[in-house]
């Protein structure tokens, strides 16, 4: 297990290097001049050139990339073109809100999705199954900006129960959390259902029932645990996506997370922040994949890493 972990951690280094090169090349390939954008719409050429020099954009690209790698290795990702603040501080400011939102909405999605999926599997082809299937299909196909705005108008504008947006109070997370969770919950429910149905048909389930194990125990101990592996993979992926910042939901709810930062940074072609964000997302995905692999071993004793 330890050797496996060590090997996987080592693999991260070349992957991140590749990602940084790809991100740098890609960002500079799309049209847009950060100095011009930052100097403002009515800036003179002299003003634009002043900003260019201040940002170091007057140096050749390979030189800029060299500086970036040299500093990034020691954890310095430079300063944001837009605000002039260190990139690490900018990311830290926005990572907290995104983490909070991701954890809460993933928890909501897992609880709601697995409950719904189990219900569908156990009561398959009955009215509750059909109803919750409709619900989960609706969840998957409702665009999040639409659901978000509906929730705002119902619960904030009309009922005054919750704030319309921002991150000003503890309750602020409720509406964006539900909005984000709904699509994930629906997908998790579909996965749980099909995975459970597959396991419920296995021989060992029949054996368990035959020897008189209670239905509840059959479901929880024997079936659910075995059905969980694809669901865990899915939850890991969904969580990874959420950690990258939910661009639409964060925009609708003015939630100052990484998705919000991403949009704003693209508007200004803020290369240092964008590159660092892309690297951060890669690290998050690599970490989540690793955790998911380790979880397989915990859930299924047959999985052994060497």
């Amino acid at each position: 297990m330890l050797r496996f972990l060590g090997r996987r951690l080592w693999q991260i280094v070349p992957i991140l290097f590749g990602v940084s090169l790809g991100a740098f090349a890609f960002l500079h390939a799309i049209p847009g001049d950060p100095a011009r954008l930052l100097a403002g719409p009515d800036a003179t050429l002299a003003e634009v050139q002043a900003v260019q020099a201040r940002l170091g954009l007057d140096r050749p690209l390979p030189v800029q990339y060299g500086y970036f790698v040299r500093n990034a290795v020691v954890g310095d990702f430079g300063r944001s073109y837009r605000s002039g603040d260190p990139v690490s501080r900018v990311l830290a400011e926005h990572a907290g809100p995104t983490l909070e939102l991701s954890v809460i909405s993933t928890a909501l999605a897992v609880v709601a999705g697995m409950t719904l999926g189990t219900l569908q599997a156990v009561r398959r082809n009955t009215l509750p199954d059909y109803c919750s299937t409709v619900l989960s299909v609706a969840g998957i196909s409702t665009p999040s900006f639409f659901l978000g705005l509906v929730l705002i108008y119902v619960f904030s504008v009309n009922l005054h129960w919750l704030p319309t947006g921002g991150m000003t109070q503890l309750q602020s997370v409720v509406l964006p959390g539900i909005t984000l969770a709904s699509a994930s919950a629906a997908v998790i429910a579909r996965f749980t259902r099909s995975s459970l149905l597959e396991v419920l048909g296995e021989d060992f389930v029949r054996t368990a029932r035959a020897k008189g194990v209670t239905e509840r125990r059959v479901l929880v101990r024997h079936t659910l645990r075995n059905a969980l592996i694809p669901v865990v993979t899915l939850v890991g992926l969904e969580f990874g996506f959420l950690l990258g910042g939910a661009i639409v939901v964060e925009t609708v709810f003015s939630w100052p997370g990484l998705g919000w930062l991403l949009v704003q940074s693209i508007d200004f072609r803020d290369y240092p922040v964008l590159t660092a964000e892309i690297l951060l997302f890669s690290v998050e995905f690599l970490a989540i994949n690793l955790i998911v692999d380790v979880l397989y071993a915990a859930l299924d004793p047959r999985v052994v890493y060497r």
């Binding site: 800036a43 050429l45 003003e47 991150m167």
Partner: protein
């Protein structure tokens, strides 16, 4: 006995303490917002939602409307703008300009202190503008102060600026929202510090800035202009999504929101407790035509396209009535504006067709229109496309994301692929010079400035130069009126419309304005308690 006490907590005590601690933390967590609300009710809080976050709070290094809007509350300038963009005194009580527009003398308000207690005086003014005009600081707005040659502290209450050469629009540069006076003590702490810790003399003091969340200001009890009723606390929040911003207003989470998109105005007008504030902007919207390339080299073709576009229909269909046809190359709210053609360029399809034929294109031609990709801009482009189609001009629409559009537009003429450009312009100084020179001067072709038409008329260039050679308003007005007439006739652009600024206000909110230049003025913002 002693040993027993020395052991400290028993397991049971520890559990009890932990439980109490957890409960306490939970209570304070839940209580936090409520406590904050109670506090906010005792001390009046006015919440404002704007469409983006500020970038910097150093006025001399700000060129975006949001940063300038926040700075307006914290700082004063020597001069400022009224909500109608007229020059008004702030830290200067009176001023004189020499006739040759080279020397400007300001008499300063006495007894004013910065928020950090530093006294305001002529030396503070000199320090600010010496920094602003020094190119080594690479500040975003340094070109506003490039004309300054020297600054003399005549005495504590008088300061005199000498310019390298005459610059008749200089008073407007001093009233520009970037020209604010920062505390010398704060300036001494360096650029990084002042960008995040603004210290001025204005009606509100800076409290905190949480990027992406909010900027908090508190009323300055020692503000020099007494007898005003500002709110105790001003919270400015960035809300990018239009529908969310309107929801904040309707739900009562914000008392003032800007902008309200035209399509939402009906919904806001119908709701109780809120009104839509309308004010004519100084924005002029137009379609620039590349005058150095075919098919737009011939003035008749450019005039034909002006006849072909029905501005009143654009106003009704796209702007929902919140616009009016341009009747000069600049908006009526700009200082130095004079009307060229009442009612705007006439709509006349027959005339357009005959001019096209005279210009060598009896069957019309194909061309491409570059534009932004916002919903309203797209609708505007589509409507223009239909109108030009009626006179045989086939327009391909090419919407682009803002940063890409900026990049391709600013290419120098040799590489610039543009034919037609849908654009808008607002002179940030509020003056005719900055309304005309960047768009129509022969020296303003990209990448230097925003002359997207690559228009050049030596007579116009001469008049624009002459307009800067004096500070006497009557003489300047004459130059700009003449230049406007020439530019209008040459038609380097299709003159479209001047738009209204739309903001949403909750009843009981006073002194909050959306300004004609697209910034906001909250210097007097307060709540009547109703």
């Amino acid at each position: 006995m002693g040993t027993r006490k020395g052991k400290g907590l028993t397991r049971r005590q520890l559990l009890r303490h932990t439980a109490a601690g957890v409960a306490g933390a939970a209570l304070s967590g839940i209580g936090g917002p409520w406590a904050w609300r109670a506090l906010a009710q005792g001390a009046q809080t006015l919440t404002v939602a704007l469409y983006a976050d500020a970038i910097s709070l150093d006025p001399f290094d700000s060129n975006d409307n949001l940063s300038l809007a926040v700075e307006r509350e914290i700082f004063d300038g020597l001069l400022g703008f009224t909500p109608d963009m007229k020059i008004r005194p702030e830290l200067a009580t009176s001023w004189e300009a020499s006739k040759d527009a080279r020397s400007f003398t300001f008499h300063l308000r006495q007894g004013v202190k910065f928020h950090d207690g530093t006294p305001f005086n002529a030396a503070a003014v000199k320090m600010n503008f010496d920094r602003a005009r020094d190119p080594n600081h690479k500040l975003k707005k340094f070109s506003l102060y490039e004309p300054i040659e020297s600054i003399d502290v005549v005495n504590d209450a008088t300061v005199r600026f000498m310019l390298h050469s005459p610059f008749g629009a200089m008073l407007y540069n001093f009233a520009h929202p970037s020209s604010r006076i920062i505390s010398p003590a704060a300036l001494a702490k360096g650029e990084q510090y002042i960008a995040r810790n603004p210290v001025g003399t204005g009606p509100f003091k800076f409290v905190s800035w949480t990027p992406g969340q909010q900027i908090e200001l508190a009323r300055n009890p020692d503000f020099w202009q007494s007898g005003r009723r500002q709110a105790d606390r001003l919270v400015i929040r960035p809300v990018v999504e239009d529908a969310s911003r309107v929801a904040m207003l309707l739900g009562g989470d914000a008392q003032f929101v800007y902008p309200v998109p035209g399509v939402q105005v009906d919904a806001v007008s119908k709701a109780s407790g809120v009104t839509v504030q309308k004010r004519w902007s100084i924005y002029a919207f137009y379609v620039a035509m590349h005058c150095q390339h075919e098919p737009f080299r011939n003035v008749k073709v450019r005039q034909a396209l002006n006849y072909a576009v029905d501005k009143d229909a654009l106003d009704k269909v796209v702007l929902r009535g919140f616009g009016r046809p341009l009747d000069a190359p600049m908006a009526p709210g700009v200082a130095g504006y004079s009307q060229v053609q009442a009612g705007g360029w006439p709509y006349d399809v027959a005339k357009a067709k005959s001019l096209l034929a005279e210009g060598g294109f009896p069957k019309g031609f194909e061309t491409t229109l570059w534009m932004g990709n916002q919903t309203e801009t797209m609708r505007l482009g589509e409507t223009i496309q239909q109108m030009l189609g009626k006179v045989g001009v086939t327009v391909r629409l090419q919407p682009m994301e803002a940063a890409t559009l900026t990049a391709v537009r600013y290419k120098p003429i040799a590489e610039n692929q543009s034919q037609m450009n849908l654009a808008g312009w607002s002179p940030s100084t509020g003056d005719a010079d900055w309304a005309l020179r960047p768009l129509f001067d022969g020296d303003s072709w990209p990448p230097t400035l925003f002359n997207l038409s690559f228009y050049k008329n030596a007579q116009v260039d001469e008049l624009l130069k002459d307009g800067l050679s004096t500070a006497a308003p009557a003489e300047r007005d004459k130059d700009y009126a003449e230049a406007s007439r020439l530019i209008w006739a040459d038609a380097p652009v299709i003159y479209l419309y001047n738009s209204q600024i739309l903001a949403g206000v909750r009843t009981g909110t006073t002194g909050a304005y959306a300004m004609p230049d697209g910034t906001v003025d909250l210097r007097d913002a307060g709540l009547t308690g109703k």
